[in-house]
Symmetry: C2
Subunit: 277 residues, 2 copies
């Protein structure tokens, strides 16, 4: 399967963490000037800001707010921990509503040593607990399956199939999946799972970056599209074949790129997007 080349950046979204050195004020001006269509705001970028006002400024700059990143981290070993996680996710939903973001990305969480089955149950219970508030504000919750290398302490949901299982269980139109190429590219069942996710109407988001060989850091050594081994265009084709017409969200954690001039990096993102996605 292959997709046609992208001819413009109207469907390009950048996560604020991708240009980590920039504040939300810098990011919104830079993204807007570069003709980028969308922005996913990480919650830390809202610290100390009037959230509604930030949302207004983003809309003034014609940046579509794709999602708020991130909720999740539901599993815990104590009832207090479980309760705190639910409260934090409720805060995230209120923040999304204030910002004008229609969706929250969930990095679901895991506790080292706790059986993954138990964590998965806590994740489903946690999402169920915050769903009434999500309904009230009309906020979608996108479960992001994380690469199995993060199964110890970041997420017990490590495949599209596992994310689909939680969605099946909750069976709610506001609960879907954020598919990130970094986490799922290796999956032998990928094409079928993306198709299924689309058929169920729950493919909510599509994140892009690349996997470097070698990878020097488990968290902050992602590549820009084209720098690594992921067939981003091929996966985009699978995603678009489901009818998905949302944004292609660039989410790159990279100490290497963060240490460079961010204006040049943003240009590199635009070029890589048009050339490799």
């Amino acid at each position: 399967m292959s997709a046609s080349e992208l001819s413009d950046t109207s469907k390009l979204c950048v996560h604020t963490i991708t240009t980590k050195p920039w504040s939300i004020e810098e990011a919104m001006d830079k993204y807007s000037e570069a003709g980028i269509g969308g922005i996913t705001v990480w919650r830390q970028w809202l610290d100390g800001r009037d959230i509604a006002s930030v949302g207004g400024k983003l809309r003034e700059r014609n940046l579509e707010i794709v999602s708020l990143c991130r909720g999740g981290f539901f599993p815990a070993k104590t009832q207090l921990g479980l309760d705190e996680a639910i409260e934090d996710n409720r805060r995230a939903i209120r923040e999304a509503a204030e910002l004008g973001a229609p969706m929250i990305v969930l990095v679901c969480g895991a506790v080292p040593g706790q059986p993954l089955e138990e964590s998965r149950k806590q994740i489903a219970d946690g999402i169920a607990a915050v769903l009434p508030l999500a309904e009230e504000h009309g906020i979608r919750l996108a479960i992001e399956p994380l690469h199995p290398l993060y199964a110890d302490d970041r997420s017990a949901i490590n495949t599209m199939a596992s994310a689909n299982a939680v969605c099946d269980q909750l069976d709610h139109s506001l609960v879907g999946i954020a598919a990130d190429v970094y986490h799922i590219w290796w999956d032998p069942d990928l094409a079928a799972q993306i198709q299924l996710t689309g058929e169920k109407g729950r493919l909510f988001a599509f994140h892009i970056c690349d996997w470097l060989t070698p990878t020097s850091d488990l968290l902050n050594d992602r590549g820009l599209m084209g720098e690594g081994c992921i067939d981003v265009r091929g996966i985009r084709a699978m995603v678009e074949a489901t009818g998905f017409s949302g944004f292609n969200e660039v989410e790159v954690f990279s100490d290497r790129w963060w240490s460079q001039d961010q204006d040049e990096f943003l240009q590199a993102i635009r070029s890589a997007y048009l050339k490799h996605c």
Copy 2:
């Protein structure tokens, strides 16, 4: 599911790479003195040795030779590369026969940027090409599914299901699976896949170690059993429930442990084995 505690080290096997600073001569004496029942020999440890003579010395010390590690790395971008890989695997089969090892572990290989489907096809073709020689010498070939974090350049076989698919395709009594907890512990389908592998009579080997949180290096920061988050005993129970009665093979790549006194490390291995496996 849970397994009973281990009461002795008769089913404990150590990979020579686990005690990397030791030569094969040192390793065989030390393992034997420590009452360890089995050894898996990495091919580099045979460099410059008379292989048959090493095999004899291992048997004299009552060390059961569990397997030769490793063959594989079949995928390549050129015909020459494919041919060379097959030749190297034939060499490994001859070495195993000379050593008196009944089995070779296959780290199947992958080429960055080459579609995983293509690599999987090359892997199946490569194994098929060396099977006649394996038959001649009666050497089992154990496909080791590798953690998806190695899908870029080490193996395109990243789940038990994927390994089982190749075994189904080749459908040969000498082709089976080496299950390593490091690679498979996160798999939501693990229990069912281990059971299936056993039912098909192809669960050939069981490797143990642990997953550290945090993990500082993608290759050489494995933990000793009990140091990390893997339920080794629980997975051993699944393995033994299939009727598996082979060795529990300790395969730890660890710059941290390799930098320490290896006699003390071997004692730590024995203790961890009896306490956590």
